[in-house]
Amino acid sequence: MREITYLEAVREALSQEMRQNEDVYMLGEDIGVYGGAFGVSRGMIEEFGPERIRNTPISEAAISGAAIGSALTGMRPILELQFSDFITIAMDNLANQAAKIRYMYGGKGTIPIVVRTPSGSGTGAAAQHSQSLEAWVAHIPGLKVVQPSSASDAKGLLKAAMDDDNPVIFYEHKLLYKTSEDVPEEQYSIPLGKADIKREGTDATIVATGVMVHRALEAAGKLAEKGIEAEVVDPRTLVPFDVETVVESVKKTGRLLVVHEAVKFGGIGGEITSIVAESEAFDYLDHPIRRLGAAFVPVPYNPTLEKAAIPSVEEIIANVGEMVNYQSEEE
């Protein structure tokens, strides 16, 4: 094992799969010589050639349409959308075609595509290039939704996504591309629908997604200095969702804080908290559930406002602290 970045882990997962499965190919804007908007596919066109690393016109509708068509013929395409904000243009193909065809044709056809797309704020890319729209796609039956938060998760989850016969939306986070950790060299698969407990704790459960996993872990570290042991659960995939791991964690801790970067109103946090409230964990809740999400505004361009709009480590610490030491709330 060696330490590589999240970006390199994604590239390695793609390359290893393409070496052994000729049906897998990539298509997207400037993914060839340029290496894609964030450089994920850099060097791949040299190894796999322009037939399998295909540059496309600047049209997400065309990319998604072509991918779905080729998937129907038996290929296993991987689309790169430069920014996940542009998924809006691919949405008809994804929601009305990719998600539906397998069901409408009684399983006679499948759409084994992976839509790789970077999401999230924090890069100063402003309102149209910084969104976290995962709750949109999670709402559509037939699409699977993955949000890896670390390099090793990214490699294993991408392998599982490529092996899956259903369309998978694979959210990579811009701020995570440069994070690194030990990643196994060989191919491996992390099953979709299996959450990971990133840190064990007994006093409160923090369910965090994407880059918020790292904020939650930092908060948990600081909370531990105050004697509060927070458990950090990363669902890793929103669809399918690992109900059991989250419910068992809340049963253990009695407190739940959900943190995501997406806008809080209508965000996936509402779904996660509802799942817990409806589950057997209800009788173990010893404090009202809380959520942290972005302010209900387009992501601001001003860097100070951009930062202020999404949950911070301090907010996570404050909320967990209040939930655990509830007696002091009245102060």
Binding site: G254, F282, D283, Y284, L285, D286, H287, P288, Y326, Q327, E329, E330
Partner: protein, 425 residues
């Protein structure tokens, strides 16, 4: 527009009142100043008078109903005016009362400060008690359910009195201590007893002054480190003195209580460190010797205060204590009569009690218990005498009074009792 009759807030600590009796029926005409109903607070009974002329349109509560302060009890208005079918809860005027900044009539509201300190959360807590529901987390409820505890019996430590699991756990562990002791002394299995007695057991919910007494006793007993010193006093001189006085001044009739109030007052002058109250980590030393006297009326306990005893003679004390005891029995004690005490006397001398451990009357720091006088063989100068002896018991708060000063106070009480002539010094 019909006018509200609401539960008045008569003291800063009053949270609810009990309806004792209605003097008017729905449909009756009422005039300004006319009593409409009688209520009982935690301390006193009082008549609620009408602020308006009109007809009593609606009564939302019956005798024995407990109503949070500022909640509407009924309506007065003109015949045929429509009023809500259900009790509308808090008086519409209550909010403006609570917001002094917005209330220009604040100067007319002497309790403005007390209300000021009422937090929003307290109000919200009242709303909960109004709808008869308990604020508790699911975990607390589940824990109470599995352990067969009535969640209503538990005090919540969370926001707005929310009951958390820890509160249930604490309640259970507090409970398990007391029944465990009882179980040792009960031979028959507890379950059999409860099953067979169920039909013959009567229950009574604590209300009004009894609830207040219960809460205060529990609070005092739980939070104050009590130490009780017992000491014997020879009673002949005091008995003789009382006999003489009552023969000479037939219209006064001095009681032992009066004498002990005088003795305590004098002793407190000599021991100002005992004449204190202790609150919020702060000791207050009082110039006034205000002696509270425990008075039992049927099942209830009141502690009216004989004030400024340091300025009174024995007859003055006697007159004032008689007035207070009579007012207590006829339930006419005012709020004023029951506050401001700096030391308490509890006399059980009329029963066959040799000594007992009185519970301190918070925020005071000491209480003197008086036991019965009995004949005892006593050695004096090597000669056996037959003496009339009473045992006195001083409970004191060891956080603010240490053993030696408390013992010195007891010595002074003993000396004054046995040499009452010193009372004139």
């Amino acid at each position: 527009m019909a006018n509200e009759i609401f539960m008045p807030k008569l003291s800063s600590t009053m949270a609810e009142g009990t309806v004792i009796e209605w003097f008017k029926e729905e449909g009756d005409t009422v005039e300004v100043g006319e009593p409409i109903l009688e209520i009982m607070t935690d301390k006193i009974n009082i008549e609620v008078e009408s602020y308006n002329d009109g007809i009593l349109l609606k009564k939302y509560f019956e005798t024995d109903d407990v109503v949070p302060v500022n909640h509407v009890i009924g309506f007065i208005g003109e015949a045929g005016e429509s009023v809500p079918d259900e009790a509308p809860g808090e008086s519409s005027g209550a909010d403006s009362d609570n917001g002094p900044e917005e209330a220009p009539s604040q100067s007319e509201q002497p309790e403005g400060h007390a209300k000021d300190s009422e937090s929003k959360s307290e109000l919200s807590g009242k709303r909960e008690s109004m709808i008869g529901k308990v604020r508790a987390t699911p975990a607390a409820r589940a824990h109470a359910r599995t352990n067969d505890v009535d969640i209503k019996q538990i005090t919540g430590s969370g926001r707005n009195g929310r009951i958390h699991k820890a509160d249930v756990v604490n309640h259970l562990s507090a409970q398990s201590k007391t029944p465990a002791k009882q179980a040792e002394s009960v031979d028959a299995p507890v379950t059999e007893v409860t099953a067979s007695q169920a039909a013959t057991v009567q229950t009574e919910k604590l209300r009004g002054s009894r609830k207040v007494t219960a809460d205060r006793m529990a609070d005092s007993s739980a939070t104050i480190p009590h130490v009780t010193l017992n000491f014997e006093v020879e009673m002949e001189p005091l008995i003789e003195l009382r006999k003489d006085l009552n023969e000479k001044y037939k219209d006064v009739k001095v009681s032992f209580n009066d004498l002990f109030i005088l003795i305590a007052s004098k002793a407190l002058v000599l021991h100002p460190d005992v004449n204190i109250t202790f609150k919020d980590n702060e000791i207050s030393y009082h110039e006034e010797r205000n002696i509270s006297l425990a008075v039992a009326v049927e099942k209830e306990l009141f502690v009216p205060v004989v004030k400024n005893t340091e300025k009174m003679g024995l007859f003055g004390i006697s007159k004032e204590s008689r007035r207070l005891i009579e007012d207590t029995r006829s339930r006419k004690l005012s709020q004023e009569d029951m506050t401001g005490g700096t030391f308490t006397i509890s006399n059980l001398g009329m029963y066959s009690i040799t000594s007992f451990t009185p519970i301190i009357n918070k925020p005071q720091a000491a209480i003197l218990g008086i036991g019965a006088t009995t004949e005892q063989p006593t050695l004096r100068d090597g000669v056996l005498h037959n003496r009339k002896i009473a045992t006195l018991s001083l409970s004191f708060d060891h956080r603010v009074i240490n053993g030696a000063p408390a013992a010195a106070f007891c010595d002074t009480v003993k000396k004054l009792t046995e040499n009452p002539i010193e009372l004139i010094l």
